[in-house]
């Protein structure tokens, strides 16, 4: 069957896999711009995976739900501020900025708190018992189910009706590709948040604690680093970034508030983290942006049906040739 599959794919059975090179060339720059903006969401979520992985060597599978919590929090904030589904209202710039900042702040706080609570409930008891790392994976899955199902039971299976307060408008063009106000905001804010996170980890006292634990937990503890506090801090930072990512996601995709909305995005973000080199903050940013762009190129070239195949094929190919990701694992070995 492998052979058959291979021939089927090669022959382009059913006509769904023609290589549409003209489209790829034609849409190259607009795909790049859109991919970067969407990829910055991946990047921010990927940072959470990477931080936790760096410190605990643990794939925090429940991180995608932390993102979902942020999305719901931002949504409810906007709703609480009096916005309703339907046409985008006309607001002053100041009002838009204030409302978005407020929604973002609430999302970041909610996500951060939930991440910390998850750590307490699902991971800390296991660490106390020296559980093997696979077990963390299972509680993470369990926690993921619980958070998801809480939203399912209380909010139903349909997405929340979209609320949007800022309409995208093209600001300028890059090689013929329109760049919208939302895309600029999201990209700039995501990079800024990354700079802050990177600075926090690499330049502050608390960040040094994180790096120390990542490098060598035993020695770090002996040297007086409070390991539990560092872990809590790591989850908090990852959660806050996921909350911000949720806001940026909703600015681009207001229809995305739904109980199972984190799953695919979580896998993609984790893929992004691995692409760049899991445990490496720079890698997460690079991986996220790269994945966003590559998905778009792949879709133009092969057709929309191959969107996810492109992402996973890219992942496998990179790991084949560079098993530790593009930039390598480095939280523990970060420059001191």
């Amino acid at each position: 069957m492998v052979h058959q599959l291979a021939t089927a794919v090669a022959q382009g059975d059913g006509g769904w896999i023609d290589f549409n090179v003209p489209l790829l060339v034609d849409r190259f720059w607009s795909n790049t711009v859109d991919g970067l903006a969407y990829g910055s969401v991946y990047a921010l979520v990927a940072l959470g995976y990477t931080l936790v992985y760096g410190v605990l060597r643990l794939i925090n599978f429940a991180h995608s739900e932390v993102f979902v919590v942020g999305a719901f929090a931002a949504y409810f904030t906007l709703e609480g501020l009096g916005f309703r589904p339907g046409p985008t209202p006309q607001l002053s710039t100041l009002s838009i900025v204030a409302n978005l900042l407020l929604a973002g702040a609430v999302a970041m706080i909610a996500s951060g708190l939930v991440a910390v609570v998850l750590e307490r409930v699902a991971y800390r008891p296991l660490r106390r018992r020296n559980a093997p790392s696979l077990v963390f994976l299972i509680t993470a899955i369990g926690a993921s189910f619980v958070v998801q199902q809480l939203f399912f039971v209380t909010r139903g299976a349909n997405p929340e009706r979209a609320i949007r307060i800022l309409r995208p408008r093209p600001l300028f063009e890059v090689f013929g590709a329109k760049v919208t106000n939302i895309q600029i905001i999201v990209l700039v804010a995501a990079v800024a948040l990354w700079v802050v996170a990177d600075g926090f980890v690499n330049r502050t006292r608390l960040g040094r604690g994180i790096r120390a634990v990542a490098q060598d937990p035993t020695t770090a503890t002996l040297m007086g680093v409070n390991r539990e506090r560092v872990i809590m801090l790591t989850f908090l930072v990852g959660g806050v970034l996921a909350g911000a990512a949720a806001l940026f996601y909703l600015m681009q995709i207001p229809q995305g508030v739904v109980y199972n909305g984190g799953f695919l995005l979580g896998i993609k973000a984790f893929t992004a983290a691995v692409l760049g080199g899991v445990g490496n903050l720079r890698g997460a940013l690079l991986g996220g942006l790269l994945l966003g762009v590559a998905e778009n190129y792949g879709q133009s070239l092969l057709g929309g049906a191959w969107r996810d195949v492109v992402a996973f094929a890219l992942l496998i190919t990179i790991l084949m040739f560079r098993p530790t990701g593009i930039l390598g694992e480095s939280l523990g070995r970060a420059r001191v």
Binding site: D34, P87, T88, G156, A162, A305
Partner: protein, 400 residues
């Protein structure tokens, strides 16, 4: 994720239709050429009421809902289940001597869970009729088994045309299949909208693929671009890039409202102003609400008759469940009503109920119910609708 007709019963739409009909003097064409409904076929004035005459006598006979209640595909299943629940509740409240229980079985919408629950249903002799199964995949998996048991199953949402071609005597479809709508949509695009360049976009569901095939087959060389999106995808920039390059007059999106809403919004945001047409899978209030103002002016097609008598259903549903009826709620209600009529007749075994349903003829909320030998409805009129001022209003009949 196949299955696909969406008859979301909107009080608003119904109210608008009524208002328009009133203005037009009770019939005829309104000045803007819109058919106003009095001339519509099968106005469900005499729609079957699950309450009946209140004198029904029965005991020990039940119905079952088999479909998704939890899991990823829950939304669609719960809407159907609630519709059916409402019918049974109305029936039981009105008929003290005929108390019917609607037993619920969760198939998770998945072919591998369905056999277990269906076996359970079959082994329960009190169950004389099934509302379900909602999805084509699970229906395919267990159809033969249900047929062997001689148990009537009316699917409120599975639209794969092949389902009726298996020779299952107990399979009934409560809505038109995908092969009915496609040609009508193609005619609507070329004749009504005068489109000579059309982009056909579809999702990856059986419904979306099947319908896109029939539309594409009828449009032939008028199709200038095609692309597929994934279920749950919410970001469409690459697909929109393809559309931008092709510069079509009209875009047909073959899929459900969950993807249609963000797609419509992103298309309009990017300045694509081609006419947008989507099928019954997107004819849902959620589409209009979720697309913001981007849904305005979009056309929706549906093998369902505009309903003027739905307000009662809408209100009771909302009162009962606290939410508005959703996709297929009315189909579930109709399917349950047909089966309740059989029980009210005092029928006591599956064979009798099967015969009753085979010979059934009557108006329901969504359409007239009469089935041919394969279990397809004999009349499945197709209508177009339009989004105006944030509401879905009927446009005109486009085929049958």
């Amino acid at each position: 994720m196949s299955g696909a007709r969406l008859v979301r019963l909107l009080a608003t739409a119904a109210a608008v239709s009524l208002a328009v009909a009133g203005c037009g003097g009770g019939g005829g064409d309104a000045p803007d050429g819109r058919d106003t409904g009095a001339a519509a076929p099968n106005v469900p004035a005499g729609a079957a009421d699950p309450r009946g005459d209140g004198k029904a006598q029965c005991s020990g006979v039940n119905l079952a809902y088999v479909g998704s209640i939890a899991g990823d595909n829950a939304a669609l299943g719960i809407a159907i289940l609630n519709g059916a629940k409402l019918a049974v509740k109305q029936h039981n409240d009105a008929n003290p001597n005929c108390q019917v229980t609607l037993k619920q079985f969760d198939s998770e919408g998945s072919p591998d869970k369905a056999p277990g629950v269906v076996t359970q249903v079959i082994n329960d002799p009190s169950v004389l009729g099934v509302i379900g199964l909602p999805f084509s995949g699970e229906s395919k998996a267990v159809g033969a088994t249900i047929n062997q048991a001689g148990l009537v199953a009316i699917t409120p949402s599975a639209t794969n045309p092949a389902l009726a071609r298996n020779g299952w005597r107990t399979f009934f479809r409560g809505l038109g299949n995908d092969a009915v709508q496609g040609p009508a949509v193609a005619r609507f695009l070329t004749e009504e909208l005068k489109a000579s360049k059309v982009c056909v976009l579809r999702d990856d569901s059986e419904y979306g693929i099947g319908l896109a095939e029939t539309v594409r087959g009828a449009l032939k060389d008028k199709v200038v671009c095609e692309d597929q999106v994934k279920t749950k995808q919410k970001e469409f920039s690459a697909t929109i890039g393809k559309v931008e390059q092709a510069r079509p007059d009209a875009i047909f999106y073959s899929g459900y409202y969950t993807e249609a809403a963000p797609l419509a919004q992103q298309l309009r945001d990017r300045g694509v102003d081609a006419k947008l047409v989507a099928p019954d899978g997107a004819k849902d209030d959620e589409f209009v609400k979720n697309a913001g103002d981007a849904a305005e002016g979009a056309y929706l097609t549906c093998p369902c008759v505009p309903a003027d008598a739905f307000t009662g259903f809408f209100d009771s549903y909302k009162k009962e469940f606290g939410v508005e009826p959703a996709t297929y709620s009315a189909e579930g209600y109709d399917a349950a009503t047909v089966l309740l009529k059989a029980l009210d007749k005092g029928l006591k075994d599956r064979a009798a109920v099967l015969e009753f349903v085979r010979g059934y003829e009557g108006q329901g909320l969504t359409k007239k119910f009469r089935w041919d030998a394969t279990g397809e409805l004999t009349e499945t009129p197709v209508w177009s609708y339009r989004v105006e001022n944030g509401k879905i209003v009927k446009h005109k009949p486009i085929g049958s």
